[in-house]
Amino acid sequence: MVSDLFPMTARQAQTTRRGKVLVGPVDLRLDGGGVAMVIGPNGAGKTTLLHLLHGTARLTSGTIEWACPLEAARNQQSFVFQRPVMLRRTVLENIAYPLRIRGHQRADAYEQARDWADRVGLGAMIDRSALVLSGGEQQKLAIARALITRPRLVFLDEPCASLDGAATREIEQVLQDTREAGTALVMSTHDMGQARRLADRVVFLLHGRVHEEAAANTFFEAPVTTQAAAFLRGDIVE
């Protein structure tokens, strides 16, 4: 789906902390739609790259440009963290929160939140404290909260890490539905099975740089670089 958000173009984007380069320089373009899967070994900078593109990590050099002004671009994105952040509120209030922040009336926000709670399978627990949910339920809540504003782009940082098979399957189904509804997903994962199931494009990250980028089929069947091939074989890549 083409929207006024895309394309996003990162040129020589880099973030550093205390003089150490965490990610970059990175050149990347997102055209919207589909799932861009960011993969790479531990410490490659997957989480930082997602934060950098989303605007929650400081860009120390280079540029990241959207098709619309930055403020408008931020309002069309959302982020799902590896460890979901739960507000000390009920499930319903958590899901409705982004709408309330944007000025929606309580009744309208809660009605939409109920709908999203049903969609992610939390309809029976909307009045419970979000803090007493299981890890899988909290991640589903976080996804519902990220989607309730109907963003054009969602960043997901290993959303299924430490979840069991059943919860992973449910969350992947929600993500498939979201993709089919036209929302672009940029997601990081360690799980190569999940990457193969969901990815349309793959961004292979190594030492904070985009080492290889390709359509998912091409990448998984014929990786160009030896490091990417080694990573896919399960070898240790340094």
Binding site: H54, T56, E71, R74, N75, S78, F79, F81, V85, L87, R88, R89, Y97, P98, I101, S129, L131, V132
Partner: protein, 234 residues
């Protein structure tokens, strides 16, 4: 030991007979303290939230100063407020010295740093937890502060109750700026000081027990109204 028993008996007697003077003094104590508490909370809680979410150059210094002011000597506060409100002081024209308003001002000055420091501790921890989410949702500074204050309301209740405890038991500052005038500025603590000075330990103890009972009752009432401990893990 005898004084303790007769103090208890006297407190019991004063309460069950609804002693008019006790009712007047206790009522004034509550009125002044609760007014000071509301004003102090309106200043301290947003200040604590602002210090939790906003980064500015002198932030650490402000926090350190606020923590240091928790131990502000009430007598000194009373003296400063006295000088400011006395006829020759900058606010003398307002005629507030030896009035309940002067006592409220002194109490507010004493408890704002206490409430703000305790509240800041809770809000800082909550902000660490919420930071990434709220930044990613792109909330405004005001929305951050409102979210933190609402979600930490139970912890903030503890901060305000600490302020209440400090204010209701305060004697030094309010004695100086209130003057302990009968039917005007006499409150439980200044009455206790007066009776102790007169050597009527039993009455002083009796008033002391009433003060403790009042403080416990208000604390329990606020906990009950705030539904603390009722909604499981928050």
């Amino acid at each position: 030991m005898g004084d303790l028993w007769s103090g208890l008996l006297q407190a019991f007697w004063l309460v069950i007979t609804f002693d008019p003077e006790l009712v007047e003094i206790a009522g004034r104590s509550l009125r002044i303290t609760l007014t000071a508490l509301v004003i102090a909370s309106l200043i301290a809680l947003p200040l604590a939230a602002l210090l939790a979410v906003r980064r500015f150059r002198w932030r650490r210094t402000v926090i350190a100063l606020m923590n240091a002011l928790m131990g502000l000597p009430p007598v000194v506060v009373g003296l400063v407020v006295y000088v400011l409100l006395s006829r020759s002081g900058p606010f003398g024209v307002m005629g507030l010295l030896f009035t309940p308003t002067a006592m409220i001002i002194a109490q507010v000055i004493i408890i704002v740093p206490l409430i703000a420091s305790i509240a800041h501790q809770s809000l800082r921890e909550l902000w660490t937890e919420y930071h990434d989410l709220l930044i990613s949702i792109n909330v405004t500074q005001g929305q951050k502060i409102r979210t933190l204050l609402w979600d930490a309301r139970r912890a903030l209740l503890t901060a305000t109750l600490a302020g209440f405890g400090r204010a209701i038991g305060e004697v030094g500052a309010i004695m100086i700026v209130g003057g302990n005038i009968d039917h005007a500025t006499r409150v439980l603590t200044t009455a206790i000081a007066l009776e102790t000075g007169r050597g009527d330990f039993a009455l002083a103890l009796g008033l002391g027990f009433v003060l403790i009972a009042l403080a416990v009752t208000v604390n329990l009432a606020i906990h009950w109204l705030g539904r603390t401990e009722r909604e499981g893990r928050w």
